[in-house]
């Protein structure tokens, strides 16, 4: 009987360790990526456009922009025909990359620290980070999920939402799009996205 308890306890410890290990791997991978980006940002020989495209290329394997595009439309997504679905995803991804690039332009010597790792489900993780500059601290949380099947050119954990000071990019987009589509069509929304 005692043996069984021991086995159960050791299995429990083992599983705890595996979970912690998975979190550490992701944290390390994330910080490595950030360091890669910082090296590119600090390389003053690159012109802005080349630099931004390099950064986007470095980060793209970590993001699932396609999923973000789908989720941002909520229930409407399923009502779109195939060609509109493709077009919307393309526009959304383009917009995301542009928005990210413009945010990188504001970068100046801030540091990123991971303050907490949450794992609400086995296939979901949240890295809570602080973007620390001389004057302020900005809390940014990155939400990851683990796809069942590994995707081409993608990491094993993918970001599907970024929450800046409590403001979720995905939620805000979803709310905007939902409200927009109450009175206007998906075509109009795409024209709007294209013009940005």
């Amino acid at each position: 009987m005692k043996k069984i308890y021991l086995v159960i306890i050791s299995l429990f410890i083992l599983s705890q360790n595996l979970v912690a290990n998975e979190q550490l791997i992701l944290k390390e991978h994330f910080l490595n990526k950030i360091n890669e980006v910082i090296v590119i940002v600090k390389n003053k020989t690159l012109d802005k456009e080349l630099r931004n495209s390099k950064i986007v290329n470095t980060l793209t394997p970590m993001f699932d922009f396609t999923l973000m595009a789908k989720l941002s439309l909520g229930k409407k997504w399923k009502q779109l025909n195939n060609s509109n679905q493709d077009k919307f995803v393309k526009l959304y991804v383009e917009r995301m990359k542009k928005s990210y690039s413009s945010k990188i332009d504001a970068y100046s010597d801030e540091k990123i620290e991971v303050t907490k790792i949450k794992q609400p489900k086995s296939a979901r993780m949240e890295l809570i980070t602080n973007l620390v500059s001389k004057e302020t601290k900005l809390e940014i949380s990155y939400k990851f999920y683990k796809p069942k099947n590994l995707k081409m050119d993608k990491d094993s954990w993918l970001i599907y939402d970024v929450v800046i000071l409590g403001v979720s990019i995905l939620k805000t987009d979803k709310a905007q799009f939902t409200e927009f589509l109450q009175t206007k069509t998906i075509e109009e929304l795409m024209i709007q996205l294209q013009s940005k």
Binding site: L24, V167, E179
Partner: protein, 275 residues
């Protein structure tokens, strides 16, 4: 019996060691996991892939549920959002830009510090009202240090040397802390996005605000309502000059400005209240 103990110990050790081992090994492990996933992925092919995708997308549904916000004032709010946006673009931003080119950044930072320091009563009282004793002590420490060593709050040695962080709290957060809901969203002229709770809260906070002129109060930094307004406008210009381009950048992600700013504001406030 001993054997099992030994076995479990070795297994435990092994796991711990591999957990701390070099990256080469972790990447090997990752690729192993990937392989395993690939093998597993062949199983559900007979099912309809559409259903799988639906189910997968639905699994995010709860998290991304948008709270139905009451918005009876949306018509007015839209107009006011455009008004504020115009004021920002054509008045505030150009003035701040001019100010920025004339006044050195160090000075503007100090001006910002000064205004922040002087608003200590608001932060103290609201931290106390929420029972945040440590934060109240931090704030008091900050006020004492910055008002003396920091020369009337122009500098922030409390943060740079004593590692005391500011804890911003206002009456809206205090009410939220005790469960008062946000109420309908209201866009205020010049002040921007707010809601019923936060608009009401501006009054108790203004009583604690030394910059705001108040006849019934013994102490006043300014001599009249006019002076007080001027000082507040100056504070705003100084703030914008230190946060150059932030609003413009935020605005770029908007498909429709009013609901976008509304949601950003409400989500941000919810987060502040939770903290």
């Amino acid at each position: 019996m001993k054997n099992i103990l030994f076995l479990s110990c070795t297994v435990f050790m092994l796991i711990t060691i591999t957990g701390c081992s070099s990256k080469v090994e972790t990447s090997k492990k990752e690729s192993f996991i990937k392989e395993e996933q690939n093998i597993n992925s062949y199983e559900p092919i007979d099912k309809s892939s559409f259903n799988d995708e639906d189910e997968f997308l639905d699994s995010f549904g709860e998290e991304l549920e948008i709270e139905k916000r009451s918005d009876p004032l949306s018509g007015y709010n839209r107009v006011m959002t455009n008004f504020n946006d115009g004021v920002f673009e054509y008045v505030l931003a150009p003035v701040a830009r001019g100010y920025r080119t004339v006044v050195h950044k160090e000075i503007r930072t100090s001006v910002g510090n000064f205004f922040h320091n002087i608003l200590y009563p608001i932060r103290l009282i609201n931290n106390l009202l929420q029972g945040k004793v440590k934060n109240s002590a931090d704030e008091t420490g900050r006020f004492l240090i910055n008002s003396t060593i920091g020369i009337f709050g122009l500098f922030d040695p409390a943060k740079s040397y004593f590692e005391l962080e500011a804890h911003n709290e206002d009456f809206g957060q205090t009410l939220g802390f005790y469960g008062v809901g946000a109420g309908p969203h209201i866009v205020l002229p010049f002040f921007g996005p707010s809601n019923l709770r936060d608009t009401f809260s501006m009054y108790p906070d203004s009583l604690l605000n030394p910059i705001v002129y108040n006849d019934d109060r013994g102490y006043n930094l300014t001599n009249s309502y006019g002076e007080s307004l001027l000082l507040q406008a100056y504070e705003r210009v100084n703030y914008v000059s230190l946060h150059d381009g932030e609003y413009e950048k935020l605005k770029k992600d908007a498909v429709d400005l009013y609901p976008y700013l509304r949601d950003v504001y409400e989500q941000y406030r919810e987060k502040q209240i939770k903290e």
